[in-house]
């Protein structure tokens, strides 16, 4: 009993912090989402309006547009990051001259704050001064203007996200690959599997837990991307890169629409949980069930 009590005492600081900075704000956001509340308007009172905010969201074309853009962004970015990250991880599993140097260099984007990444990419992509539009024009004759072209803006953000976050995928997959036993792979060679079959039948299933964890992390991060996008395009041109995070930001801060912003946040959280749960169930659960 004594050790049990001691355990709670040792856990208490963590639990308190978690409660005050995690649970309480979350409950408060859920609470606010059922209200109409604009604290900086003429009538700053919080007015309970039931499920009105949630009803409004279903018909809010701006929100639905954001949702669509975000889903497209997440699909493009996360899938590319996983594929490129895996290829890089495999490359780093081999020996080549300068490997340690390249591995260090390749993780540098990870340590940069998103806001910095956004501003650097803005510099690089601004027409007339940016290096990217300059060489695209010089070498390929393509004129790129993320201020006027929606696809250009969208794909610049996708590429920026890939550049920024692929190293995370690479690092986790390197860790997963390094920890794999060697024998099953040699066994598979003897059993007659070619490289492609070894990948699909042996490597992929064996790194699946790490891969899924990485996809979860990237998925949750990508769904709430704000800073880089805010710096780079501000959600424009028009609303073509107005991702959910940016949408909530605009709803809450410039418009000071706290009640409705909270509602969107709750919905986004709900969607994130649903997507991750679906992924988990479809990829991991069948195996666990069969094991039982």
């Amino acid at each position: 009993m004594r050790s049990n009590k001691l355990g709670w005492i040792l856990l208490a600081p963590t639990l308190l912090i978690l409660f005050f900075f995690g649970v309480l704000p979350f409950v408060y956001v859920v609470f606010v989402s059922f209200h109409q509340w604009n604290p900086f308007a003429a009538s700053p009172e919080m007015i309970f309006n039931g499920a009105d905010n949630f009803r409004r969201i279903v018909f809010d074309s701006a929100f639905l547009n954001s949702l669509g853009v975000t889903v497209a962004f997440v699909l493009f970015a996360v899938i590319s990051e996983v594929i490129i990250g895996y290829m890089l991880a495999q490359a780093f599993m081999r020996e080549f001259p300068g490997k340690a140097f390249f591995r260090t260099i390749h993780t540098l984007p990870l340590i940069m704050a998103p806001i910095i990444v956004g501003s650097v990419w803005k510099l690089m992509t601004t027409p007339s001064i940016g290096i990217i539009p300059h060489y695209l024009d010089k070498w390929f004759g393509i004129s790129m203007n993320i201020g006027t072209s929606a696809p250009a803006a969208f794909f610049t953000i996708v590429v920026m996200d890939i550049w920024h976050w692929t190293p995370l995928v690479t690092l986790t997959l390197i860790a997963a690959l390094v920890s794999l036993p060697r024998d099953p792979f040699e066994q598979a060679q003897i059993d007659g599997a070619n490289k492609r079959q070894i990948f699909w039948h042996i490597t992929l299933p064996m790194i699946a837990p790490a891969l899924i964890a990485t996809v979860f992390i990237r998925l949750m991060d990508a769904l709430r991307t704000v800073d880089e996008v805010w710096m780079l395009t501000g959600g424009g041109p028009g609303s073509s890169t107005r991702f959910l995070g940016v949408h909530i930001f605009k709803e809450v801060f410039p418009k000071t629409n706290y009640g409705y912003g909270s509602t969107i946040s709750v919905i986004v959280l709900y969607l994130t949980i649903v997507v991750c749960w679906l992924l988990y169930v479809s990829m991991l659960a069948p195996r666990n069930n069969r094991k039982g």
């Binding site: 024998d183 066994q187 598979a188 003897i190 059993d191 007659g192 299933p205 064996m206």
Partner: protein, 353 residues
Amino acid sequence: MANVKIENVVKRYSNVQVMHGVDVDIEDGEFVVLVGPSGCGKSTLLRMLAGLEEISDGTISIGGRVVNDVIPKDRDIAMVFQSYALYPHKTVFDNIGFPLKMAKQPDSVIKEKVTKAAEVLDLDHLLDRYPKQLSGGQRQRVAMGRAIVRDPQVFLFDEPLSNLDAKLRVTMRVEIKELHQRLGTTIVYVTHDQIEAMTMADKIVVMRDGRVEQIGSPLDLYDHPKNVFVAGFIGSPSMNFVHGTIAVKDGKKVFLSDHGLELPVPENNARTNQAVTYGIRPEHIQVGDQGVPMKVVVVEPTGSETQVFAKSGPELIDALVKDRISAKPGSELCYMIDPANVHLFDRETEQRI
């Protein structure tokens, strides 16, 4: 089924040569055991046979076909690893059926062959399990099942029993031997355990430091070891060695140890005054109340036999007695040696005289 020819095989890792021209001929259907202490190159040789290690020099042929540059899957071999190398995410059924699936066999054939192999290995009730739900012996059998469904020309075993407990090891030894008798496929088996080698092999290849020391049938190696290393490695408990010289006493050649112990020698080519290593197996020392006296140091009874460590003069002698004896440490016993059981080796070259 096929014969295997290993000719003058050399293995180098950059500048370090670890295998120095190994020659082994393996007949069709033979059970060959590669044995030696760790680091002797036996596993490397097996991996070269499997195609998992490149051959630096020399040739390996399976069934008359040189396979130096043939990738593992085209060598028509099956291998069982020490770790069993089961696919952790696949059921027993899928593990055993994997080689067939890779060979694009129809599902019905896979099912039939896997079921048959499972019956042979007594795994039929475990087909839906995952490797982590199996015991060591069961995993071992799954690995063997995966090997036999392929019906390969050659089976390769890399210390398959060393992760099992002693009792299971004996059971599996019998099972593998039985499997070989039933299938008649050529088997190359690596182990560091000389008892495994003696009990299972048709032919033993004793290796040391990347060289073959001796090739022969188990009893041949036991009766006529070519050198001190083989003599000491084969047989359990291992052979007694005493250093000394050949002397003549009463017109008869005798062995005189460095410490003055006198022992009988067989008639052979040993020259007078030649420095030799005298070898006698513990089981060939007849303990009784006649002969050379010795003082018991330690007695190790195992039930079926008794091992006696005793000092004969300054030499420590290890004797194995079939009967139970009541000797206590410190008590006096005598022993006799039949010269026919003595092995003499040149002390310099360590080769048999």
